[in-house]
């Protein structure tokens, strides 16, 4: 026997560079990660974005304010109402427009429904990421019901263009309340079913617990927000910490994770769906009558010269709009603060000791929407 065979010299292995995306099945859009792996273990990961860069911020500078709302629909294309709300609120704040109560309440219903729809989509795709193929169908079943309500209210299933500066485009249809009353028990049951199918499955727990841990300090330093931040143990919710619209009138819980791992990020969202349902019930109970459009908003909006920053709680986190107006009918500068952008940035910190399979799970648990990341 030669001595070479018995020495304990470490094997000379090469690091393999894998290009995950932009056409990988589980990158949630056109997103590319370059992953260096040693066997199955991740050594380094570098995200590349920009494949979906449409220049929404720059485009907004050439559009009328009402037209910009259509652009905001297309940022985070699974939580459109929330985006619209943020932009409308920015202009309303700048102009000092008081939105009528009824409009505010309907806005809250729509936003919360959209939050559930978005989280259901997350639930499905996260299931796919960990290798279960049924959750997406369950998620889509209930999302479909919500979208049918959206269609009845706004006329579109995805790109609603429903909120206006000062209110809404039109009132909800007359059978809205009955439809909601039919929808809510279905949704409650659907969420329970989703929860039972996946949340505590042993294989699922093994795949997501203690994977991709983002500590509290890191989450804050990276500017993570929304479920990612809350899963790391920071009870920060814009609806509570800086209440906008009429959110301060409702009673709900803010789910907060304990470890900041993938399971926490997943389950925070499941709980948020339940809380959103709670909010919707309260809103429906309180929904007042009245106008849906503020008086005094012209067709062509010319906010006064100035600048404003408004943030709201999107399904993905803290969505902000920084709007600079020069007094004309077009915005001078619109800066969008997309929550996924920063959550995605924090992903590098979650990659410690991860395996190739975990990259996919971690990316899924961050729940990015590339339309918003790249803008």
């Amino acid at each position: 026997m030669s001595g070479d065979l018995t020495t304990t010299r470490p094997l000379d292995t090469l690091e393999l560079m894998i290009n995950m995306g932009p056409q990988h099945p589980s990158t949630h859009g056109v997103f590319r990660m370059v992953v260096w792996v040693d066997g199955e273990r991740i050594v380094n990961m570098e995200p590349y974005i920009g494949y979906l860069h449409r220049g929404s911020e720059k485009l907004s500078e050439g559009e009328l304010y009402n037209q910009v709302i259509t652009l905001f629909d297309r940022l985070d294309y699974v939580s459109n109402f929330n985006n619209e709300l943020t932009f409308c609120m920015a202009i309303e704040k700048l102009m000092g427009v008081q939105v009528p109560e009824r409009a505010q309440y309907i806005r809250v219903i729509m936003c919360e429904l959209n939050r559930i729809a978005s989280h259901l989509l997350f639930y499905g795709t996260f299931g796919l990421d960990v290798g279960a193929m049924t959750p997406i169908m369950y998620g889509f079943r209930d999302r479909e019901r919500i979208q049918s309500i959206f269609e009845a209210v706004s006329g579109a299933r995805l790109m609603h263009n429903y909120f206006r500066v000062g209110g809404l485009r039109q009132d909800v249809p007359s059978d809205f309340r009955e439809r909601m009353e039919r929808l809510l028990p279905q949704l409650e049951q659907g969420v329970e079913e989703c929860d039972q199918l996946l949340s505590y499955n042993e294989v699922f727990l093994a795949r997501t617990r203690s994977i991709g841990v983002l500590t509290k300090e890191e989450a804050i330093a990276y500017g993570a927000s929304g479920p990612v931040l809350r899963a790391s143990g920071v009870p920060e919710d814009v609806r509570v910490s800086e209440p906008y619209s009429v959110y301060d009138r409702f009673d709900f819980n803010v789910p907060v994770g304990k470890k900041g791992d993938c399971w926490d990020r997943y389950y925070v969202r499941v709980e948020e769906m339940r809380e959103s349902l709670k909010i919707i019930r309260q809103v429906l109970a309180q929904l007042p009558d009245g106008p849906i459009m503020a008086a005094g908003v012209r067709r062509i909006i010319r906010p006064p010269r100035g600048e404003v920053y408004v943030r709201t709680e999107n399904p993905r986190g803290d969505f902000g709009v920084f709007l600079v107006s020069d007094g004309t009918d077009k915005p001078y500068r619109v800066k969008i603060r997309p929550p996924s952008f920063l959550n995605l940035q924090a992903m590098q910190a979650m990659m410690r000791n991860a395996y190739v399979a975990d990259v996919v799970v971690i990316l899924g648990s961050v729940d990015i929407v590339l339309g918003e990341v790249d803008r």
């Binding site: 259509t70 009845a152 579109a156 249809p173 199918l197 042993e202």
Partner: protein, 163 residues
């Protein structure tokens, strides 16, 4: 292991339920009343002419610049049959470019444009879904028939054409 068995139970339970999907081309789910399909022009059945006078408000307000229009003198006005002095001559929409935002409907002062329920418009050519006035009016008539559409602003005093 119990939770996994619970998951198996959930899938088994749903298996025994009715499927929620519909067989699409055979079976169309009904669209809601407000459904925003592609824009269409409405037809004034009383005077037998389009409501549209070609004032270009919608065109100037369109976020994607997907429409063009020109107007002409209305021959029916000369005959005294119509109150519209001008009438649309050419109206073209590139439906492939339209983003279904309903801004055109909102800004229209004459109830001339509606979001029809038309949404299946696949064509073999890239420019195949440019539609002209005739096709738009057809779509509009179909929509008016299907939904019993009635003008709502026609009775109200007209605001000045403003962009």
């Amino acid at each position: 292991m119990l939770n996994s068995l619970k998951g198996l139970g959930v899938t088994l339970k749903t298996m025994l339920r009715k499927p929620v999907t519909a067989q699409y081309p055979k079976e169309h789910l009904p669209v809601n009343r407000r459904y925003m399909g592609f824009p269409a022009l409405t037809w004034d059945f009383q005077v037998q002419e389009p409501y549209c006078v070609g004032c270009m408000v919608c065109i100037r307000n369109c976020p994607t610049q997907c429409m063009t229009a020109t107007l002409k003198d209305n021959p029916l006005h000369k005959e005294g049959k119509s109150t519209r002095r001008k009438i649309v001559d050419i109206f073209e929409v590139n439906l492939g470019r339209c983003i279904l935002c309903e801004i055109c409907v909102e800004v229209c002062n004459f109830d001339a444009i509606v979001m029809s329920h038309e949404h299946e418009l696949s064509k073999y050519e890239r420019n195949g879904n440019r539609v002209d006035l005739q096709a738009l009016l057809e779509m509009g008539k179909q929509y008016q028939e299907d939904t019993g559409w009635e003008p709502e602003q026609a009775a109200a005093p007209k605001e000045g054409v403003q962009a």
